[in-house]
């Protein structure tokens, strides 16, 4: 099974090199599928704690080992990454887009999977940094003509700031514990009490940029809006998850005391983020930007749930995280499809999608309802449990729970407003003669739709899986 772990990281890399070299998109699709398959078989023969691990020495004098392992927390996220990578490659091949873009997507996928699977802090840092340049190139090279340069530069600078803060925190932890083995540090209860708050502050600041947590989110709407559809999908579905995964697994695991001390600050920032993002979304006039900003709110829920520090809270955070990784990419795929057809994303120019393309409008409605947390769809459980976990803490946390609940209400308001503008009303000129949804498009979206339904109807198995994880 160790080979499967390596294959999950190596296949996309090889695929990236080959699809770029030979200019063939199908090589990218094949390697992404291979990576997905390698990850899909990992639960075979699993136990509690770490399922499988590989550990190869690389540079012992800087504590760097090529060590990958997988457990109930990292596996769903790695699988989600591989799935989204595969769907993006299929989308790309279908659109006949450049094979260089496919190669960059695969590079992002490989590095992100390495982040999720990494069991060595130095390797974690390298993989975290490795995401930056390909993603920057996707935004810069294939983004929206008007805004891509600015958005890409902002993305790069914010991200590198975050990752270097995070790196400093990681190295302080390594210096404090004398090892860079993530599992070992978590098992021994994290860094010493003196260093705990410093480590957590540095790590949390770094991951908060990536997550993003208000007020460090301003790169996100720009980057998402400027990025091509596949770029937005990966940004929302994968890159944001790096931040929250890091916060929950690495920051929380390395510095549990610091996390407990800093929890009120995180929780208040998260609650402000939920409200601010919802209010901003109510006024936004551009489809992709609206979906992008909604991520800030959803990630606020994840951080708030993590900040409660209870078992229910952490599980809610992981669940909301994964649900967002399914719902928001679906929304971006659909928004991309709408924008491709209408050649505009401005809400005032849209309308009547329900009449022009019923299937597309139906899917958009489905995704929007999943995002606003309709019971029975994936978005519901994470946010409901977040409010529950906050109430459970009692005291001032109840106020935060109330704010979060109000934020969920606002989320419903802005998503319904978006649906009213896009789907309802008379058919806008931009939607005249709209192309039908093709079979390949359906095929690309259906796994996400299915997963959203599955998680919404049966959240139990996933929650149980999280409970087996090493935290």
């Amino acid at each position: 099974m160790g080979l499967m772990l390596i294959a999950a990281v190596a296949l996309p890399l090889v695929g990236a090199a080959l699809s770029w070299w030979l200019r063939r998109n199908w090589i990218g699709v094949a390697s992404a599928a291979g990576s997905f398959a390698a990850l899909a078989v990992l639960p075979l023969g699993r136990g509690d704690g770490w399922w499988h691990a590989v550990d190869l020495a690389w540079a012992p004098s800087i504590h760097l080992d090529f060590s990958l392992s997988v457990d109930g927390v990292s596996w769903p996220l790695a699988l989600l990454t591989a799935l989204l990578g595969l769907l993006c490659c299929v989308h790309n091949a279908h659109k006949g887009a450049s094979s260089t873009l496919t190669a960059l997507l695969l590079a992002v996928q490989a590095a992100s999977i390495a982040v999720f699977l990494s069991d060595n802090l130095i390797l974690f840092f390298i993989a975290f940094e490795a995401v930056l340049l390909p993603m920057w190139a996707i935004v810069y090279r294939y983004g929206d003509e008007a805004t891509r340069r600015h958005a890409a530069a902002k993305f790069a600078l914010f991200t590198v700031t975050g990752s270097l803060l995070m790196a400093t925190g990681l190295f302080v932890a390594v210096a404090d514990t004398g090892t860079a083995d993530l599992g070992e540090i978590i098992a021994t209860g994290g860094v010493s009490a003196d260093a705990s708050l410093l480590v957590f502050t540095l790590l949390a600041a770094g991951f908060a940029v990536k997550a993003p947590l208000w007020p460090l989110h301003s790169w996100l709407p720009d980057a998402h809006t400027a990025a091509p559809t596949v770029g937005s999908v990966l940004l929302a579905g994968v890159l944001l998850k790096l931040g929250t995964y890091g916060l929950i697994r690495v920051a929380g695991g390395l510095a549990p005391h610091g996390a407990a001390d800093a929890a009120p600050v995180l929780a208040i920032l998260a609650a402000i983020g939920i409200i601010v993002a919802s209010l901003v979304c109510l006024r936004l006039g551009e489809l992709k930007r609206l979906i992008a900003y909604s991520s800030v709110g959803h990630m606020g829920f994840v951080v708030l749930a993590f900040a409660t520090g209870t078992e229910a809270g952490v599980r809610a955070a992981l669940f909301a995280n994964l649900a967002h990784g399914l719902v928001t990419p679906l929304l971006f795929f659909l928004a991309g499809a709408v924008k491709d057809r209408a050649h505009t994303g401005r809400l005032v120019d849209l309308g009547g999608l329900r009449l022009a393309a019923p299937a597309l409008a139906g899917l958009l409605g489905f995704a929007a309802f999943a995002s606003l947390g309709l019971p029975g769809l994936a978005g519901f459980w994470g946010e409901a449990f977040t409010v529950y976990a906050a109430v459970e803490r009692g005291g001032a946390w109840i106020a935060l729970a109330a704010i979060a609940a109000f934020g969920a209400f606002l989320t419903a308001a802005y998503l319904l407003r978006m649906l009213r503008r896009v789907s309802h009303g008379p058919v806008a000129p931009a939607f005249e003669g709209l192309g039908a949804v093709s079979a390949i498009e359906f095929a690309t979206w259906s796994p996400l739709v299915a997963a959203v339904l599955l998680l919404g109807l049966a959240p139990g198995p996933l929650l149980d899986l999280f409970a087996t994880g090493v935290l």
């Binding site: 690389w58 540079a59 760097l64 130095i122 840092f125 920057w136 790196a167 400093t168 990681l170 190295f171």
Partner: protein
Amino acid sequence: MVSQPIDHAALLPLYLAAATAAVALFAGRLAKACTMIGLSISAGAAIWIGVGADRRTFAVGEWHSYIASDATMGLAALFALLTVLVAALSARAGAEYCFLLAASAAGGITLAGSGDLITLIVALETLTVPLYVLVTRPGRDGAEAGVTFLIASIASSATALMGAALLYAASGTVHFAGLATELAGAHPGLVAAGVALLLGGLAFKLAAAPLHAWAPLVLERAPLPIATYLASASKLGGAVAITWVVYFGLAPQAGLPAGIVLAALSVASIAVGNVAALVQRRTVSLLAWSGIAHAGYVLAPLAALATAAGRGAPDAAASAALAYAVFFVLLEAGAFAALTAVRPDTETETATATATAEKGRTPEPLLSRGDLSAPDLKVNAGTLRSSTELSHPRATIESGGPQGSDLKASAGNITELAGLFRTAPLPATVFLIAVVGLSGLPPALAGTFAKIVILEFLASSAVWLAIIVAAGAIVGLAYYLPLARTVLLGRGTPTPKARFTIAVAVIGLVLLAIGLAPQTVLEFTRISQ
């Protein structure tokens, strides 16, 4: 007088380098080949001696003036090999040119093995003096660069010597091992002054602030192969000199003053280098200013001696500084080698350029005038390439000045590298690896490891310094990324055929190799007493 046996085996790399210099002087047309072969053999000898047991020679009691350990011989081999690379990159390497280069390499090899202040300073001078001649291109600009380098170098040598003299006065010895013990009861003011002057003077070689101002000007105007040498071997010399002095000599008894001086130098270099690099529009200037920032990163681990935790682990500090220096000079060598390969043949062009530029104009106003706008620059870049064959009247009229000035202004602008990845893939790839590596990002892992090495050490000793280094790296991305972007995605006119394919490929492979196997560098730079 008592004579003592000299361990000639330990000195073998030095003998070979010196012999290479002597042979090259009389080898005529074979000088370049002689230099490359001779220095390669010298590097091989250094590695062979390094692999064997440590050797010491020139003893005064317990103290030795020349030490051949793993680290010193590894660095000696690196000096020799970087010089081989520079020789390989030189298109018209005459006998004197090769002689001077080999002599400088001999200085570097001695420097690596030096065990006392006198040997160190003499070695550093041997490394530097040949460069006075080599940096000077014919013409007014070249002379200006040469004189700048000469004055800065002499001033800093005098400063360093003064510092060494004060330390000698305080301790009664110049041996590092002697300083390590004898400084114990010395007058603290004298020691502090000596340390500040000595380190300040040595920092010149590394182009660390405040003695950095020569670097952009000299690198810009020196021939590119020599700029490669200045940016790699010569800077390695500065890094090694400071590391040896601090680790072997000062750390035990004068760690605090040394740490404070180095912290000031380091923070100043990081700030000055990064901020100035942000506004550079010329490739070499950008690399030169960012090199100043990197000098700050090299010094940062040693600066941690200012803290108690740092003084507790001087060997880790010195190892981190050396490892960063080695990664850094290899990346710089890669960047400059790639630039040399794609820059049009400099010698003929210089002749034309200087001949016309001489007509009563100083270069500075022309520089600023050439930088007015991007389209202008593109026209100018086009002019440059055709200028050796025929003049280009339209472009001359558009940019509104004598052709020579345009040449001066546009040659070497970053925009000239636009689209290089399409027109010259190999040098462009090496350049990209080097630039991305200097910014510390994967996939150029060599640079990432370099950053990890110093951040990891600083996180355990001086977190505030780690955050300053991290902030510097963030600013660095703001200028490295556009540079990489220009090379990768820009659209430019085809450049002349790239030269020096083998040399560029070799340094590219070296960068890839240390990216995949950083342990090779980390092993030999790990020092312990």
